[in-house]
Amino acid sequence: MGTLLIRGGRVVDPSQGIDRIDDVLVRDGLVVAIGHADTQPLGKADDTIDATGLVVTPGLIDMHVHLREPGREEDETIETGTRAAIAGGFTSVACIPNTEPPIDSQSTVEFIHQKAARADTCNVFVVGCVSRNREGKELADIGQLVEAGAVAFSDDGAPVYDAELMRRAFEYCRMFDKAILAHEEVLELSRGGVMHEGLVSLVLGLTGMPSAAEDVMIGRDIALAETTGGRLHVMHVSTAGGVDLIRAAKKRGARVTAEACPHHFTLTDESLRGFDSNHKMSPPLRTAADVEAIIAGIVDGTIDCIATDHAPHAREKKMLEIDRAPFGILGLETAVGLCVTRLLATGRIGWPRLVEAMSTLPARILGVNRGTLRPGAVADITLIDPDLSWQVDVRQFQSKSVNSPFDRWTLKGRAVATIVGGRVKYRLGH
């Protein structure tokens, strides 16, 4: 495989407290060292990337991605989804098991691993179902799924509705030290809903999904996690109330982590005024006050990480009336741009916090040996041009779908090279 020298970039690795201009040397797929090649020879490299002006980070990890395969290959496949991932700067994704069939058996996990190996783009970590067939009735074979390589458990797409089953899941997962990734929604309160319940939904006559539908379920799951000592990871937090609940739970020492999605700290329910189903997702876009609370949660660490909830849907499905169109938007290829534009360019957080949220902490929550540039670590590395201004064009996306509300937006910051296991898998413009 040889050696690769990444020269002169701003190396940001929160796992080691590093934030300095430096060189990174990679050999045989592993990080060898971080140090100035000029003063301290790192050995002759077979390949060199000039990273001057770029930010060099441990490979980004998106812990919430719907790859759709098996079962809905018209929306996305493991191959197209992972290509979208590397184009967005992600070296790893965790795929959510709401496929058809759902990922609730060793053989399905094997299938994903094989497909991912064949695609040979980025790492695909598998999230297994909490309940068998994602039906919410009995536990899936969690132990066997762990053996097959599942890194966490989720029935995402829907909440685990039976509180008793959720309690058992927390208890059972403790023995493997795996987190449960929870979609928080009281379905009776959001039934028929299309968007956030507020003044905009009232004016548009669209059925609303109140913040309380999310907050009530977050409250329940925090209580269950505290009761059992289980690990709760709250997915796609979208409400100010949810952020408050998580902040308070963390203060009490509960084993709770959380993620937020770029769209939830960028857009509000106002954007539904055009009735465009590309603004329809669950949980929905909420108010400016919620957006501010999410950002504050990212700033103070209440929200540990940023995940995209990448949810591709074929064009014809999204072209339906807004109440018939499915929930979900693309995320992989716009995440870095949105994070830099919304969080860094505005001065709300710095690079170390962003890298922590997009690499260090997702790796820690999933318990995978990634998210660091320590010598000996797998050389998953992302190079980001922090100043590159670019226009989103869904027609250029690697994803099979185009359901992004950010088409034609101008964003700042973009991944320009994605290195997986020491191999350059993506270079912008190459």
Partner: protein, 334 residues
């Protein structure tokens, strides 16, 4: 002859819209222009009874994805009174059940060479999406609980006929505000013309959030009746509700039906409107529905006038340039 006059009338200046999708996004001038145009058609057609030929050669499609008899009939009649050809297209007889998307359905109709689409759909925003995808004028004939602009206009038209100016007039919209497109179109139209709007009904049907728009919200009909110049009694839309928002129809009628008793405490010249169909005994008792202050039948006639005006504006000049040319003294419609 009135018909000759309007047949050769220049296109009204100031109308720049391609479609009529909602009243929220129209200006007060737009709304006045729509009402004035309707008034001219009502006069020119001798109270909506005579036929004109201003839209001869035009084809208008009633694209109804939701059942409606009144509105569809009213649009059809209005179009025919202006000389247009009308095609009715209803979801039940369509290919929608075969899985075709509503946009494809509309595009197929468009390809047959039509001039305007009158669309009704159970989903808010559907006319707006059609307007984006089609090259012909789109008229919203009701999109779920969102808006029903011609209904709002005809209600306001009916009030204006009796009261003249809307400024300072207090209008109570009573009933199922949550699910009422009529309420929303009335709300915007009335506010833009300077009327004072009170929304009244139980909190499960009338959100406090409406206050953020600057309208009054009341849950007590008895308290607002004496202050209102107009009451618009909206139908309870049982078909759109997840869970019943009040304990029983009996209790609802007790609290919110407009009865003769309540009428006694109203201003002498109170006007009563009710967009059909009405549930007699729920929103309004039979004696009140038929009382002299009731404008219910005026509304039906005025609906024709409003729809003639809207169709004429929508099937008129196609481009801003053409519209500008048409507003010149030499401009002609037919």
């Amino acid at each position: 002859m009135p018909s000759a006059t309007i047949d050769h009338e220049p296109f009204p200046p100031g109308w720049t819209h391609r479609h009529l999708l909602d009243l929220e996004r129209l200006s007060p001038e737009d709304i006045r222009l729509l009402l004035d145009t309707a008034a001219r058609f009502k006069e020119a057609t001798d109270g909506c009874r005579r036929k004109l030929s201003v839209l001869t050669g035009r084809t208008i499609v009633n694209l109804f994805f939701e059942n409606s008899t009144r509105t569809r009939t009213s649009f059809s009649l209005a179009a025919r009174r202006l000389g247009a050809d009308v095609v009715d297209f209803t979801a039940s007889s369509s290919s929608l059940s075969k899985g075709e998307s509503f946009i494809d359905t509309a595009k197929n109709l468009e390809a047959m060479g039509i001039d305007a689409v009158v669309v009704r759909h159970a989903t808010p925003g559907t006319p707006h999406l059609l307007a984006e995808h089609l090259d012909v004028g789109v008229i919203n004939a009701g999109d779920g609980p969102h808006e029903h602009p011609t209904q709002g206009l005809l209600d306001i038209f009916s009030i204006r006929e009796r009261r003249g100016d809307l400024a300072g007039v207090t209008v109570g919209l009573v009933g199922d505000i949550a699910h009422s497109r009529t309420a929303r179109s009335n709300l915007w139209g009335l506010m833009k013309l300077g009327a004072k709007v009170i929304l009244c009904g139980p909190p499960t049907l009338v959100s406090q959030r409406w206050r953020e728009l600057g309208v009054e919200v009341s849950h007590d009909l008895d308290a607002i009746v004496p202050r209102c110049d107009v009451l618009n009694l909206l139908r309870i839309q049982f078909e759109r509700q997840n869970t019943r928002p009040f304990p029983s129809v009996r209790e609802y009628a007790h609290l919110y039906a407009m009865t003769k008793e309540r009428l006694k405490r109203a201003k002498k010249d109170l006007l009563i409107l009710a967009p059909g169909p009405i549930n007699r005994g729920v929103e309004v008792t039979a004696d009140v529905a038929d009382c002299p202050q009731s404008l219910i039948l005026d509304q039906v006639t005025n609906g024709l006038a409003v729809r003639m005006g809207v169709l004429w504006l929508t099937c008129g000049p196609r481009t801003p340039a053409a519209a500008a040319a048409a507003t010149q003294p030499t401009g002609r419609i037919v």
